[in-house]
Symmetry: C2
Subunit: 377 residues, 2 copies
């Protein structure tokens, strides 16, 4: 293998592949990146067994030559060292040359690295993803879906299925739900050209977080291909594989109340900032519980730490209808939910101090956040 490549292109692709590299892997070769060069270009693969990322740099793009290939081939190089070397090279031209066996020369300017590579034949082959179901979403919609749901997955391995986000395709619509059994986040979308056959799958939260870092902020399409145990997200130059979680995701639809006794409309950002301040004292007691009570058109947010002091503040509501209410909840869950809905006017629907309540945007039903209260009053 022998080729010349533009450093910046290599570095961009490498930054994507590095998202799959973990220092804690069971198979030593997975601390490496597999590099393959053929007549079309260069591809790099990184994996931690759960996630596999493969990037591709074409020989030329928009008439500009990116790679000059003298000899095709493949090698595996230590991921961390290789990416640091590429980042710090003195010029934008890099020559990579596998000479004697596995010894790999990296040349740039007056700098020459000789890295001891590993045998590419020992690198695990890519998971085969049989196209059982597939559809496409714009990258920016994918990123919204992830941002609005993934924070609510469970951080505990006691019920592994809850560490993932449950995606359901039904009647040409998409529903994405995450819950840690104390709160729930749901995003609905009606993308174009969805399959009509219903199916569902659970993607690990961690995979979605890494995918979110790689996807562009544009509406370029991401093709999603689902097989029995794997999902593949495919963009122009990146393949992102993740294992799927096995097991039955609980039916969450019955948790969501359909009626309400108190309904509060309020500016989301004002409420978020108020709860953020109240949580300054709540955090000190480690429970991080704040109180919320309605009175006329005002919301009172308060919290209390016996050792440090207390805080009370008023937030003006846009509208409050129904019964007066006093309720307590986790400041963290509330702030996560408000951040997901992001600054718009928010409608909160309560069915009593001990019943789950829901938050949504006042003028958009696609995001729903549900939170279980805490008994304190």
């Amino acid at each position: 293998m022998k080729f010349e490549i533009v450093r910046d292109e290599l570095l961009d692709a490498l930054n994507d592949v590095m998202k799959a590299i973990s220092s804690k892997v069971a198979i030593p070769i997975l601390t490496g990146i597999k590099i393959e060069v053929n007549e079309n270009g260069m591809s790099m693969t990184g994996s931690d067994s759960d996630i596999t990322i493969r990037t591709f740099i074409p020989v030329e793009r928009d008439g500009k030559e990116l790679i000059k290939i003298s000899e095709q081939g493949s090698i595996v190089l230590q991921a961390r060292v290789f990416s640091e070397i590429i980042r710090k090279l003195p010029t934008n031209e890099v020559k990579i040359n596998v000479t004697d066996g596995l010894l790999t020369l990296i040349h740039s300017g007056k700098s020459e690295f000789k890295l001891i590579g590993s045998n590419p034949d020992e690198y695990p082959i890519l998971p085969e993803v049989k196209d059982e179901h597939s559809f496409s979403l714009p990258a920016d919609l994918m990123k919204s879906i992830i941002r609005e749901t993934v924070f609510a997955v469970s951080q505990q391995e006691t019920r592994p299925i809850l560490t993932g986000v449950h995606w359901t395709v039904e009647e040409g619509k998409l529903s994405c739900v995450a819950t840690d059994s104390h709160r729930l986040a749901r995003k609905l979308a009606s993308p174009e050209n969805m399959p009509t056959i219903p199916f569902s799958f659970v993607i690990p939260g961690k995979s979605l977080q890494e995918l979110n870092k790689i996807l562009p902020d544009s509406d370029s399409p991401v093709k999603i291909i689902i097989a029995e145990q794997q999902v593949l997200f495919k963009t122009d130059h990146v393949l992102f594989y993740s294992r799927l979680l096995e097991g039955n995701y609980p039916d969450t639809s019955r948790l969501i109340p359909t009626e309400s006794k108190t309904s509060v409309t309020v500016n989301g950002r004002a409420l978020l900032q108020s709860i953020d301040r109240a949580s300054l004292l709540a955090k000190e007691d480690r429970n991080n519980i704040v109180r919320f009570s309605t009175e006329d058109k005002m919301i009172e947010i308060s919290s209390n730490s016996p050792e440090i002091g207390k805080v009370e503040e008023l937030v003006e509501a846009i509208q409050i209808t129904g019964e007066e209410l006093k309720i307590s909840f986790s400041a963290k869950y509330m702030m996560d939910a408000l951040r997901a809905i992001d600054g718009q006017d928010i409608e909160i629907q309560f069915t009593g101090a001990m019943r789950p309540f829901i938050l949504k945007s006042a003028d958009d039903d696609s995001i729903l956040q549900l939170i279980l209260p805490v008994r304190t009053y």
Copy 2:
């Protein structure tokens, strides 16, 4: 105590005081900040016993009223909670009011905090610094001195005196030296109006690092007042106290070679980047040793890790005179020294592969860096 203050002014001063706050303090009241208000303005004091920082906000500045005082007084408030509250308040107007005993009301907009304060009489009194010796330096010179020396102090408590920087005033000149016994950094300065009586003192490296964060990037004067066990740095609105280290600082002047066998002049940044790259492999072996050898007008930098590979690169020297040389040293020490001299043309003077060598700017004698080599050739 009752007053109104502009939030941004309070926050700036608070950020300075917070530099002295540590979560590991022996005296519980030192987790608090002492607030005092008198007819001139408001002062705040924070301390971790080693460092004490006191800031002052005047009642008015440049004709603009900063504080409206209704009642003078003092209180101690939990530093971390108080500073987070001030940072997150909804408006730029803050009312602070010690009501009933130690209970302190903080009002801003529709937000009201009630903090349980501590008795200000229990707060340690400020160290008394008798003006035995004093002089002034511009703040930006102080910052250069700190940046160019403090990294070389010892991180180990085995010889506590070496964890500080040794400042000596003699014949109206200032010399600042730090060494961890493997390398040494020295900065000389000839500020105006220095005292003629010789004296010296050792300031803990940690104190200087915190001081550096507080000093402005301007030539406004910093008054330095030295007493037996304390030093006080005084700017317009900040008093920064530090304990001094006791004991005799070793005589380092004899360590510095006065002649050389090989002299190399080279662009500092080019050499720094080259060593940074070479250290990518050296780090993996944990010794972080790179080799440096001269040949005609070139410097070869190399390093070697049996498991990962090796790197060799050439750096063009501006001038090399004297004997040919092969030497090995810590990449970290070399990079620290080159960063302190900061990108200018550097002169390196060697007296053999096993003798300490010195680095200085090619056109400025004020900074000197000394490094002990490592035997590998």
